[in-house]
């Protein structure tokens, strides 16, 4: 991480101590890398939970290998239903709030924004440092909940009341759930600090000549994501605080007036005072649907940059790409009700949410067509980064199209809360988002560490990730259609139906595929750490890319640039016929006769 030490680009006059430079650092790149490694660490945890889920679905009656006897000695090494719902809950919560959001917005956002806009750091470096250190109380809460007496939260990552707010309702609804609420609140604080910082930085600190329509798509996407976070997060915070107060027994925002408290605990009824469980769902999804775009938009932005760079061709339709991001973000605020078609919400309202939700497929399809036409007539270098990005496009098509089934109110009735929806959002966030994160890691690794990741291992990683994960998750559509519900600790009782045998078989295929995928990640982990120290050394622009981050040394010193760059054009002028090379950096002085291209 530290091959550089002397050159500070004239930004800092004095040497910083190790602690100030690498631990309590205010340098956006160090903070980015801190988020980067924290998110990978949490991904290992979330991924292991995923393997537990898959094991339980395929072999509900078998002892869990390696850890079963140790974790569930009283149950012959088999997973208990309490443990299963907790595993499902923590897998979702960790992957969303501690892995994908920190990875896309915080890790790559921090690392790339100042570099791509040509500035020395974030606008508020100390706030930036705080945003990283606020993620640790969150992770501490998540991890501590595993050690609470009654186990971690078990009400799903959506934590619907009243299950989540009545401590006596289920084992996980006690301390585990309280820690869950606290953890999410800390994540929110961290995200909010990040998003105001990104907005300020992108609006105020762009290099001379860097107009908004010369920003790389990654920065555009992160800019719009920051707006989404800034406006949606307060609503989630409200929901979490109200839920926490309910959970601690002070209030009953989400517990109805006539709630039959005696059913759960004798003296519970005393605090029932006219709350409404559906209120939480509205507040929660008002944030958590935009949160899908908070996870996906940055990966779309990064994918656009990576595709254009590695196929050596200008991004097709730059402006339509920008407007479709804005369209997705705008529509993203008025679609939350599609999570609630069968919740008991007034069904007429469902019609309105259905129309807005269906229409969000429009900007998404514009993006897909533009990616495909960027590849059209291009000259790809077939790097691992490109392959992962193309896989992102391929899988996002599936995730986007399967979304139309859920957006359609009548069909949603059948597939709501089945494995169909599980397949859908994994195709968007896992096979889509995660593959873009892999691509971004391969692509920006040389900038981060001055070395390239090994391409042979990278391609091996790609092939053994692409095939099994696709098979594993694609089959889930079918088991969902056959009626397998989510979050069932044991699906075997369904075997008395004719479809039972097929469902079980497909679950086993999914499980084995996903285990192969997990094994392939060992290649990636090895490659990541091996290349960090022994990878091929590269200069500052190994991909011959145009955007400003490649003008800085690899890795960039504190202060990033020797001098602040001046920008003359957009970031996608690849294969300009009149240029000598097949790329034309944003800082290259204008070529006589050159026109400004921003797509149409």
């Amino acid at each position: 991480m530290s091959s550089h030490s002397e050159n500070h680009g004239g930004h800092h006059g004095h040497e910083l101590s190790f602690v100030r430079r690498y631990i309590f650092s205010t340098d956006h790149k160090i903070i980015g890398l801190q988020f980067f490694f924290t998110a990978w660490f949490m991904m290992v945890l979330g991924g292991l939970l995923a393997l537990l889920i898959r094991w339980q679905l395929a072999y509900p009656d078998a002892e869990v290998p390696l850890i079963g006897r140790w974790l569930w000695p009283h149950n012959a090494g088999k997973m208990t239903p309490e443990a299963y719902v907790a595993t499902v809950t923590m897998h979702g919560s960790i992957m969303i709030f501690a892995v994908v959001i920190p990875m896309t917005t915080a890790a790559f956002g921090n690392y790339l924004i100042p570099l791509q806009i040509g500035y020395r750091d974030m606008a508020f470096p100390t706030l930036n440092m705080l945003s990283y250190w606020f993620i640790w109380p969150a992770l501490a809460c998540f991890i501590a909940s595993f050690f609470s007496a009654s186990g971690p939260a078990g009400s799903g990552w959506t934590a619907y009341p009243t299950l989540s707010v009545i401590q006596q309702a289920a084992p996980g609804s006690g301390t585990g759930q309280t820690l869950w609420y606290l953890g999410l609140l800390f994540v929110g604080v961290s995200s909010m600090m990040g998003s105001v910082n990104y907005l300020t930085t992108i609006i105020n600190c762009r290099a001379p000549g860097m107009t908004f329509f010369r920003l790389p798509m990654t920065t555009w996407a992160l800019f719009v994501t920051a707006i989404l976070q800034a406006f949606a997060l307060p609503v989630l915070t409200v929901a979490l605080i109200l839920g926490l107060l309910d959970n601690l027994g002070f209030t009953s925002f989400f517990v109805p007036q006539n709630f039959d408290g005696n059913w759960i605990v004798n003296n519970f009824a005393r605090r029932s005072a006219g709350g409404q469980p559906l209120l939480f769902q509205h507040l929660f999804w008002f944030y958590s649907h935009p949160a899908v775009y908070i996870m996906v938009l940055p990966t779309m932005g990064m994918a656009s940059d990576i595709i254009a760079t590695h196929v050596r061709k200008p991004l097709f339709g730059y402006k339509p790409m920008v407007f479709s991001i804005l369209g997705i973000a705008g529509l993203g605020f008025i679609v939350w009700g599609h999570h609630m078609f069968v919740s008991g919400m007034n069904p007429t309202l469902g019609t309105a949410f259905m129309v807005s939700t269906i229409m969000i497929a429009l900007p998404s399809s514009v993006k897909v067509f533009n990616w495909i036409f960027t590849v059209w007539g291009s000259k790809p270098n077939w790097s691992t980064a490109l392959l992962f990005t193309l896989a992102f496009v391929s899988f996002f098509i599936i995730g986007g199209l399967s979304g139309i089934f859920m957006a359609s109110t009548p069909t949603d009735i059948h597939i709501h809360d089945t494995y169909f929806i599980v397949a859908h959002f994994h195709f968007v966030i896992m096979l889509g988002g995660m593959f873009a994160i892999f691509a971004a890691t391969y692509h920006w690794f040389p900038k981060m560490f001055g070395r390239k990741m090994n391409e042979t291992l990278g391609k091996l990683h790609f092939v053994f990730s692409f095939i099994p994960i696709f098979i594993g998750f694609y089959l889930m559509h079918q088991v969902g259609l056959l009626g397998q519900p989510r979050r069932y600790a044991d699906i075997r009782p369904m075997l008395d139906t004719e479809a039972g045998y097929a469902i079980m078989l497909m679950n086993k295929i999914s499980t084995h595929s996903i285990f192969v995928f997990a094994a392939a990640q060992l290649i990636f982990a090895f490659n990541l750490f091996y290349s960090m120290f022994f990878g091929e050394k590269v200069d500052r622009n190994p991909w011959r890319a145009n955007s400003l981050e490649w003008e800085a040394p690899s890795p960039p010193p504190h202060g990033n640039f020797e001098r602040i760059p001046v920008v003359y054009r957009g970031p996608y002028e690849y294969s300009y016929p009149a240029a000598e090379e097949d790329y034309l950096p944003q800082t290259h002085p204008p070529i006589p006769g050159e026109e400004e291209h921003t797509g149409h």
């Binding site: 309490e82 299950l163 097709f316 269906i358 899988f395 098509i397 139309i404 009548p410 009782p493």
Partner: protein, 285 residues
């Protein structure tokens, strides 16, 4: 032709091929395709499902093939010429935006009447049953048979009176070949009433009383279960729908149950909680 390029294009080609073939195999193989025993509501939902499957299927195959074709026809790495210097195409952008918009608007408006029928316009008929979900069972309350009127008593769904109803656990009896109207509510946490083979699902929310209607044509026993996470026992919350051959058959069953309860020495079943404390609010409609 570069070998690597060909292999990568083929790998990506496996996505639409596997996608379509596996779907087709499931569609052709009876046990792998969800059975539907509903003639009215479920059939309409399945029809919409088919329409959307065709539209999205064509888009899926088309766009995936377009991607594979673009990969396949891209220039070789060692080709002498540069990649095309193209920034976009206004006609294409407008074209595919309008095409996608037209198709999406069609999908949106095509389904509104179906949604209205299955979820918005409650059928005008007396309620057949009242379901209270709780951890982790379904208590189904039916009206007793009124001998004088030769009809079931009126089921007061807001507050089912003990004297006029009887209760079964985890068993929902319905007549075949007609619209069935039931009300669901919950006593503790959110549950969800889900009968996959009748394409019906409705969350049971504490404090809300929500009407659900559906139909079945084939008599028999069918599974229904909880589809909303309701604690560790969620997976055990399974029950059955018993579809009687006809209205007459169903009414005969109601009469039998009533007679059995009224028989001397038979204790009248009562709900095991105080119903007065749980008066839910009528939702929607």
């Amino acid at each position: 032709m570069q070998l690597g390029k060909l292999l990568w294009a083929l790998l990506f080609l496996s996505v639409p091929i596997f996608g379509v073939v596996s779907f087709w195999v499931c569609h052709q193989h009876g046990a792998l395709w969800p059975e539907n025993i509903s003639e009215v509501y479920g059939r309409k939902i399945d029809h919409l499902f088919d329409v959307i499957t065709w539209i999205t299927g064509i888009f899926f195959v088309g766009t995936e093939l377009l991607l594979v074709y673009a990969m396949f026809t891209s220039k070789d790495e060692d080709a002498p010429e540069k990649a095309d210097f193209v920034h976009g195409n206004r006609t294409l952008e407008i074209g595919w935006t309008l095409m996608a918009a037209a198709i999406l608007i069609f999908v949106a408006f095509y389904q509104i009447p179906i949604w209205t029928e299955v979820k918005v316009q409650k059928p005008k008929k007396p309620a057949d049953a009242h379901i209270t979900a709780s951890m982790w069972m379904w208590q189904v309350r039916y009206p007793l048979w009124d001998e004088q009127a030769n009809a079931p008593r009126k089921l007061d769904v807001v507050q089912p009176a003990l004297a006029e109803t009887f209760e079964l656990t985890n068993e929902l009896h319905i007549p075949a070949k007609e619209t069935v109207l039931i009300y669901v509510t919950s006593r503790d946490v959110i549950h969800s009433f889900y009968v996959p083979k009748m394409r019906v699902k409705q969350d049971a929310v504490p404090g809300l009383l929500i009407p659900v209607w559906f139909d079945a044509v084939r008599p028999g026993n069918y599974e229904f279960y909880c589809a909303e996470l309701c604690g560790p026992g969620h997976y055990m919350m399974r029950a059955r729908v018993v579809v009687h051959e006809s209205r007459a058959d169903y009414e005969r069953w109601l009469r039998e149950q009533t007679a059995r309860l009224r028989a001397p020495g038979q204790p009248v079943q009562v709900m095991n909680t105080d119903t007065k404390s749980s008066v839910p609010t009528l939702a929607g409609n």
